[in-house]
């Protein structure tokens, strides 16, 4: 063994007399399930750190937060967070979350899933939850493909990217999620990348405290299936790319947010509105008026 290696090995094993400490995310994890299934350099775990900080900073009672995921690598988040969570069927996280919120309006309901799950197969639900301004918080890990099933093209894949289903590159136009959701009626819309951890944690906290449909898109590396096929390097190279090409423009016109293969990524908080009534509030008010008596929104728990 070289001296250098011995030194490093020793450094790995050093136990200094330091104050007691614990990883601040540990209480938010089902630690017995770690290590998780995500590949080296995958961005999903980084987003979970930001989410844990956001939950802590929001001062919300963790017992009143539920996480709902669909299917996909990103959809595995529900299985790793130490909160009440629900791993649903592919594309249907939002319908499950809608039922959960309507039955338990006091819960903070977070939908945590992938771009394919939320915007391709589940795109219809996404639009209608935004239209209703239902108070759920949607965190979309956008790695620009269907990763779990082998890296097929999705509605979110930028033009001319090589994927498992487009060896000559994609030619279809790409869905601009913030633009779509603004048109549909979402009242909180932001986008960050996994490089922008502090900004992301802050925005997640704000979304947790916002009343109404909230959407955070997180551009995240899938080094195994997306970056590799596109000769864009590993997870770290992708993070450096985000650092260089992430351009913060709060309040940017959502029409200008198209994702491209290697151009700048416009990030920031684009929409935060208080002028639309939240769905459950609106329902209460509407029926109170129609019925001429206070409308009791009662939930029978079984």
């Amino acid at each position: 063994m070289s001296d250098n290696l011995m030194l490093e090995n020793a450094a790995l094993q050093v136990e200094e007399a330091l104050p007691e400490s614990m990883n601040p995310v540990e209480p938010f994890l089902r630690s017995e399930r770690i290590p998780h299934i995500w590949c080296p350099g995958c961005g999903i775990g980084t987003t979970v750190n930001c989410f844990a900080r956001a939950v802590m900073d929001s001062k919300l009672d963790p017992n009143k937060i539920a996480v709902v995921s669909g299917i996909g690598c990103s959809g595995r988040v529900a299985g790793y967070v130490n909160l009440d969570s629900f791993h649903t069927t592919h594309g249907r996280a939002i319908p499950f979350a809608t039922g959960l919120k309507l039955a338990n309006p006091e819960l903070t309901v977070v939908v945590y899933s992938g771009d394919g799950d939320l915007a391709s197969i589940g795109g219809n639900h996404l639009i209608h939850a935004a239209r209703r301004n239902l108070d759920i918080k949607v965190i979309c890990v956008n790695n620009l493909i269907y990763a779990m099933t082998g890296g097929q093209s999705a509605a979110t894949t930028p033009e001319s990217c090589t994927t498992a289903t487009s060896p000559y590159g994609t030619f279809e136009p790409t869905l601009n999620l913030p633009h779509l959701l603004e048109a549909a009626g979402a009242t909180f819309i932001a986008r960050w990348t996994t490089y922008h951890v502090m900004q992301l944690a802050k925005t997640m906290k704000e979304a947790l405290l916002h009343k109404g449909f909230s959407f955070i898109e997180i551009i995240s590396p899938c080094p195994t299936l997306f970056q590799r096929r596109n000769q864009m390097g590993d997870g770290l190279e992708t993070m450096k790319f985000y650092k260089e090409h992430g351009k913060t423009k709060h309040g940017a016109d959502t029409a200008s947010l198209d994702m491209t293969k290697s151009g700048d990524i416009i990030i920031g908080k684009f929409v935060e509105k208080k002028d639309r009534p939240e769905y459950i509030d609106h329902m209460r008010e509407y029926y109170t008026q129609k019925l001429g008596r206070p409308f009791e929104y009662q939930v029978k728990t079984c």
Partner: protein, 82 residues
């Protein structure tokens, strides 16, 4: 005495290098040693520079590293002990 320290759970690490690259004070380096899974975890290369900011913890996708700030009281205790 540094303002903080960093704790590494080498067996969770997948060697992505995020913590090494984005530590603002370059405290860390990737080891050439392997963990059980065959990845190269980071090691503390310049402990004195650690502020305990936990940015490494924010970046680590594998929950394998975190920083802790050393409070003034803890520093005082350490000085007395020393």
């Amino acid at each position: 005495m540094p303002k903080g320290f960093v704790t590494i759970t080498a067996e969770r690490c997948k060697g992505c290098g995020f913590c090494v690259e984005f530590c603002p004070t370059h405290v860390l380096a990737l080891s050439s040693a392997f963990n059980f899974k065959g990845y190269h975890p980071p090691y503390v290369h310049d402990a004195e520079k650690c502020s305990g900011c936990d940015l490494c913890g924010m970046y680590c996708p594998d929950f394998a590293i975190y920083g802790t700030r050393i409070t003034a009281a803890q520093k005082k205790g350490a000085n007395h002990a020393g």
